[in-house]
Symmetry: C2
Subunit: 382 residues, 2 copies
Amino acid sequence: MGNVVKNLAVLGSTGSIGRQTLEIVRAFPQRFHIVGLAAARNLDLLAEQVREFQPEFIYCQNREALSRRNIGGKFLPLEEMAGHPDIDTVVVAVSGTAGLAPTVAAVKSGKRVALANKESLVVAGEIITREAAQNKARILPVDSEPSAIWQCLEGETQKPARLILTASGGPFRHLSAAQLERVTAKQALKHPSWRMGPKVTIDSATLMNKGLEIIEAHWLFEMPFENITVLVHPQSIIHSMVEFEDGSVKAQLGYPDMRLPVQYALTYPERLPNPKLPRLDWDSLSNLSFEPPDLTRFPCLKLATEAGRWGGTYPAVLCAVDEVAVELFLAGRISFTGITRLVEQALAQHQAVAQPSLEEITAATDWAREKVRQLSAGDRPC
Amino acid sequence: MGNVVKNLAVLGSTGSIGRQTLEIVRAFPQRFHIVGLAAARNLDLLAEQVREFQPEFIYCQNREALSRRNIGGKFLPLEEMAGHPDIDTVVVAVSGTAGLAPTVAAVKSGKRVALANKESLVVAGEIITREAAQNKARILPVDSEPSAIWQCLEGETQKPARLILTASGGPFRHLSAAQLERVTAKQALKHPSWRMGPKVTIDSATLMNKGLEIIEAHWLFEMPFENITVLVHPQSIIHSMVEFEDGSVKAQLGYPDMRLPVQYALTYPERLPNPKLPRLDWDSLSNLSFEPPDLTRFPCLKLATEAGRWGGTYPAVLCAVDEVAVELFLAGRISFTGITRLVEQALAQHQAVAQPSLEEITAATDWAREKVRQLSAGDRPC
């Protein structure tokens, strides 16, 4: 195990998780070889990364712009890269529902899939977990909460009784419903404990992020929704917990720093010392606090759980509406609470398909995007 | 694995851990068969237990009194019982240094040893771990802190970077040095979070218990003393933690209830649902707090760590002096802080033997017992 070099494709290499993935690769040059890098739009940063890591394959949404720059590497479509035989580990750090296609391609090709993109499991958990099992792909969660659960489950021989996902509660934990109506994008982008990309930061403020994690955990750990609990823990030190049949609880702790779950997914089953990862300093950690989430002020958590339980194309609609609604909020076109209202309305109007194919999932997300644009015409920012 | 019946000897069956062990056995009658029961003095309770569990073998310190009662079962000396071929799992719940001989007998016979007696590892850790390795015995810790560490290490492929033992801080956490001089045995026996036997309750008040656990953890997990940290955590919910090479920390949590670590050691690697074991209720757990231990007011922690580092017969002297000093304190013959003074003085006067044999360890404990009686003649209770 020790010195086998892992051949990586990093999909979404210029985003927050992508850049942190490359930080880990940089820390262990003898362990990883970057075979593919894929970015959506940030060509400048992609060019820099290509210079540094010299990948064989590259991808960017705008192929023409890419060829004009002539930054090196052979262009490969995203899904082809995710399934390429020269690659054994695919880091899916693409943001949002765009992560679905490459995740499916990677599991179908039996890769180790370091999955930072929760949306793909949310919208197509059944397909992805089935394909992973059939093709002996292994899904290694990169997000801090499922990584915590995964670490707590290692070595246990039985299914756990309950998963406890912790949530920071976001920047608006103490605001009233009336105050929530008036918060701005700038306020929402200031997360109290985590430094993340804009989409997930807004999702943390609405608690939709935790809702998506409930559905993700349901698929990753084959856990019924009634056995997944959310606990608000503002310090974000305990990243999640697992309760076992005998009542024993295990928790994984660390500072809020995505590099740790990224590194764990990449080096698993080994753990490597990395001086750049911070160690918990118990002299400065005098208190960890906990409170139940308030589903009245933060109804996204409830909406997501319901969409997850209903199944079919409901989670796809949840994801797609949220994605567009967050964009609208960031653009100042709808209010903060408008995000939730749009999700609720779209779910109510959706005619779901049970056990959908990928095509039916795509159709549902297309429907949802269109629907949210119609609905949002009536919403007003403050 | 599932339905193999384990054949148990419970040594110290009438003490706190012994009784809780029998509670677990009672909850899973199809999993355990009690082959041997051994008590020190409590013949009434032993008789009751023999009636209920019908063991083949029994032991009691006063063999004559035992034969007069004629409670059934065949008398076997403690060490013979610990090594008997009809027994596969030996629960060593004997209190204090009296646990040494049966623990050694059990590991020499290659048993699964559910070890609640920390003193045996403290005084003879090198011998016991060596004999366990040579005879393929497995030591399964029963105390809550090492059980927590064991649970956190399950499935990990590498040695951890650091063990973090939590301590409640005892009933006198907030008292000044002057106030500590005057505390009574009655006050010291009121532990804020754990219900335990008198010896370990007093050791918790002086923090000697945590000191002994440091030495125990050193041997159980082959961890250098400099990588074992103590953290005061008054709620006693996190039972201990492990920090790994990558900085990730895992913790095991539960209410302060010894039945959980007892059950885990007995059912390992399975976890069985037991409705009598309490589940953490996060609605009522709003805060977990932490602080560094105060080595000035509670010097036992430092004394124990030093004795552990020095090795040889020092830990045996530490244990034996503490055992006698706690008895003297409970009898009102010395003050609370007198316990620490006696330990310190005896350690200072001890001529240690390096890599001692069991005989040399016994000689050192005999010397220590005599020494503490001489020294205590000068101490006065308040």
